[in-house]
Subunit: 309 residues, 2 copies
Amino acid sequence: MRPRCSVLTGLAACLLLGPLAATAQDDMLWRQVAEENTVYMELQEGLVVLELNPAFAPKTVQQFKRLVQEDFYRGLSFYRVIEGFVAQGGDESDIGIPTTQPSLKAEFEISWDDELPWMRVEQKDFYRAETGFIDGFAAARSGKKAWLTHCPGVVAMARETDPDSSRTDFYIVIGQAPRYLDRNLTIFARVIYGMDVVQRIRRGPIEQNGIIENDLDRSRIVRMHMAAEVEVEQKKDFYVMDTSSKGFKGYMDQRRNRKDDFFHQKPPKVLDVCQVPVGIRAEKADVPEQLLTPLLEQATENSPGEAGG
Amino acid sequence: MRPRCSVLTGLAACLLLGPLAATAQDDMLWRQVAEENTVYMELQEGLVVLELNPAFAPKTVQQFKRLVQEDFYRGLSFYRVIEGFVAQGGDESDIGIPTTQPSLKAEFEISWDDELPWMRVEQKDFYRAETGFIDGFAAARSGKKAWLTHCPGVVAMARETDPDSSRTDFYIVIGQAPRYLDRNLTIFARVIYGMDVVQRIRRGPIEQNGIIENDLDRSRIVRMHMAAEVEVEQKKDFYVMDTSSKGFKGYMDQRRNRKDDFFHQKPPKVLDVCQVPVGIRAEKADVPEQLLTPLLEQATENSPGEAGG
């Protein structure tokens, strides 16, 4: 048994020796999230920050950025929210409310390119494709195609049966990865900050497929801004683990091969691409280096109870 | 394109033709959750209901029930909460606060028994075991052993390195299934109601491994009661899908083999045992049949945007 850590004295330091050690490797590199791909989504429940992915969904990102810049989402709601599945928001055009916004061509997958910064996770995943990371996004590939994969925190466009029918309504995955949706919807962003806030979005009734009919009962988008439009004192620089770095590979290897005495039954040496938290740091320009906890919460790897044991 | 459903007129009826149709099969049977295995956990955020599993963790369930009956958990907090991973609560004995409660022998797995009401999901899952359901609980088996598996909503005992060191502290899985913990911790219950409430439990900072040092910042357990002790007007009867019924098998088959036109790219015909919502109904004794929405939210199967399309 390792030395006890008291909650009152030195717990933080003590715990740092544990799970975070894996993420604090010397060779872990960090990539700064580009300002032009950073969206601040202010909900009634708090701040959520998204990173857009123009490499996989250029046209969708372009339209989404335009909508954000036009303040289109201001005051709109999450009108369809299913616990364990998705929170869907927008102007409700997806459920028949008329809109003048143009529909988007499907961007479900891209052509494989050997230049992509691919970090393999599994050669053959449960879903029969190779999984990996590209610039912090969980992805998969098969043959000459690659696509972003439906993990918790992923943001994608809702649509009707027509693959080219997405307009403004989007959803955030809030539960166990619905991987069966891969290559059928356009994933264009992911939550890099405030996933705990997303989890507070009010749920709808299942007998109405998650639709919250009473507008008053819905969580609302207060506003969305591109990072460039955010006031300096509220702005942060975001850094995500460089998923193509040696350090990230080492971090994955530690998760795949659990050597800790905690594991009396060694787990199978496999990694679910949606169960590898990509660590995130947030820094404020004039503060030395401020760790914003809700972000880094995603960077842990640990075992319940192991903390102080 | 199918007929549009207006939000204002007949949406509910319209949507019922969609996802819920699969769960409303004639041959779907429902099992009433035994009162002696039903725990009402009242949090500051709302009501959560657990179903205990004495078949897999008899001694743990026995001690947990005693603690509930002794009002042990009243006012205790969720002191370690990591977004996307677990919410851990109890008397903090797991992190070194002295307790007089006895430690429990590990109940990580049971011997396989051909009499178990096993409904197979996958013969060989990504985690290299056969997966299935037993009485609504996601489970796995290999050789002569069977165990409950770490899906969202699962409740298990925290422990230190010693496998027999669980006492009162438990955790609820709130993120992507951490299956690597299987057979290393004692799963003894699952959330059958109020998972949306669980998702509102306040998160802790990752640099302290999720520990919330300031007691005031923690979510609290107002009280826990066994169902038998709950006042009649607040009490509900809970019914879960009978996972050994033909109807449940049909429901799984529909999820495994997506025939809907929505799927332009047919998903691989595999099922993640943690991505099969086991439907739940709640009824009140003197009300004809009241569907409680947060429960049934877990019973859906659908596609974002498909709702009104």
